[in-house]
Symmetry: C2
Subunit: 297 residues, 2 copies
């Protein structure tokens, strides 16, 4: 049995923390960095090494994983003066779990290999914090298959499904497809809950009545009851995230010459809702777009 490869990880947030905890539990030697170093404390206590710049991650591991908020943050952590690229050597590999714009991913991957010979796998995840904690994430990978094989074991420590979708950027395209489906579905669910309410149907029963059928989905089971009961707390995910992902997907589709009439309208409706003060609220609040003011909740 070969020794497990050493790993490094930048971005110890809501997703990164449980992912690192699972990597440590699986026995991987792990070096971590986070802008706010206090977030690393539970990992250091569990055996991780902490460094003070992203560049130093490359001294301790051949595979540097990152899980960060957006394209700008990834660009800075990788390409700033003390970024990953400044410490990288040829043959090392970067694995990006963040959800980024596919075009930016392709540009940064090309820049990284040109600048220091480090490879790039985009590996955005689906499943949220609960999936990260349970190790049940779905991971959509773009990049060289040989690079994926180097880290497949580690990816299967944090997720239960790893799918190689194509060259660099293909993982991000797949994540964009995921978010288009989820966000559009959330908006249609708001339409049907409001329609049910206005026409004398007990909207609390919709999820049960449609369960197991062609209209069923996890968003239906989660959102429809929340909407029908005006239950908007605790906030599990954010309108802001769906809006960012829709805007990014629609922009990328335009660049590819691919029409997205439904997703385009969904982005506008999501922006309308966000602009009414709901950016940091749960997507269940989308029902407010369709309900008469004061009718409920």
């Amino acid at each position: 049995m070969a020794a497990l490869p050493s790993l490094a990880f930048a971005g110890i947030g809501l997703m990164g923390l449980p992912m690192c905890q699972r990597l440590l539990a699986a026995g991987y030697p792990l070096t971590v960095w986070n802008r706010n170093p206090e977030k690393c404390a539970p990992l250091v206590a569990a055996g991780a090494r902490r460094v003070t710049t992203p560049a130093q991650l490359c001294e301790h591991a051949d595979v540097v994983m990152v899980c960060l908020a957006n394209t700008e943050v990834v660009r800075e952590v990788v390409f700033a003066a003390d970024g990953v690229a400044s410490g990288a050597k040829g043959g090392q590999l970067l694995v990006d779990f963040s959800s980024l714009e596919p075009t930016a991913t392709r540009e940064m991957a090309a820049q990284l290999v040109h600048q220091c010979g480090m490879g790039w796998l985009d590996a955005p995840v689906s499943g949220g914090v609960a999936g990260a904690e349970a190790g049940s994430l779905a991971i959509m990978v773009g990049g060289e298959l040989a690079d994926l094989e180097r880290v497949r074991g580690a990816l299967l420590s944090v997720g239960q499904r790893v799918t190689h979708m194509g060259p660099v950027g293909a993982g991000q395209v797949t994540k964009a497809c995921n978010q288009m489906i989820v966000a559009c579905n959330a908006l249609v669910i708001a339409e049907v809950v409001a329609l049910a309410e206005r026409s004398g149907v007990d909207a609390r029963l919709l999820a049960e009545a449609l369960g197991g059928g062609f209209a069923d989905s996890r968003p239906l089971q989660i959102l429809a009851p929340q909407m029908a009961e005006s239950r908007f707390e605790p906030v599990k995910w954010h309108v802001r995230t769906l809006l960012k992902d829709l805007d990014s997907a629609v922009k990328f589709s335009r660049e590819q010459g691919s029409a997205t009439p439904i997703s385009g309208l969904a982005a506008q409706l999501m922006r309308l809702h966000g602009g009414q003060g709901f950016l940091e609220k749960d997507p269940a609040t989308l029902i407010h777009l369709y309900r008469e003011p004061g009718s409920k909740g």
Copy 2:
């Protein structure tokens, strides 16, 4: 153990035939009528009694079930000169499995009870021919709860989930909600398959990569591979049906004062696609809206 009530059934089509076969298998005495009487032959062979007018159905059973193509056909079978209403007595019950406009259902139900004292349950189903054959339909019921209890056992012979959604028409509203979600999702799936294809992603892997996550659904698992492989035969369901259901749902929403921006756009896109010659084709052909002509299939 009480004897099973006698049932009658009008409309021996793709759905009605297997539903009647399941009722006979469950031991219900069954009288049947169909415009084209030949369709009744397999049921007569299995023990059903055949009559020659809808009115005669009321002579042999207190519960008359109908499963017909649309509002106009139901109106004729119930209210024509030799229709169900002309033979009905007070206390009898009509169970309508068809998918109709909720407003028309409410009007016909009021007319039927006024004219002859016969009650009305709307009980549209979801699950298609395969669900009817397997007895796994979901049945969404509107009407008096006491009327539902009279036939719950029979409904559970043809479906596995029976949900009482509210007063007469509530079943049809729920079915409209179901179809809005399914049709909008089908259109978004076409958008993402096309986007994946145009950006170098293996679209055949989308269903697998997104399986089990928030974007997953039965339409995703069925349509995405069909679209990616340009596999449009055999035709399992029709663009025409989704268009009819969307138009009906959008019209009803307008009557209720409920906005449906996504479903409204979906209806227009579905009409655009149908108008290009795809009305009788499988919804998997929706990918043609988004693909360059001649690029595939």
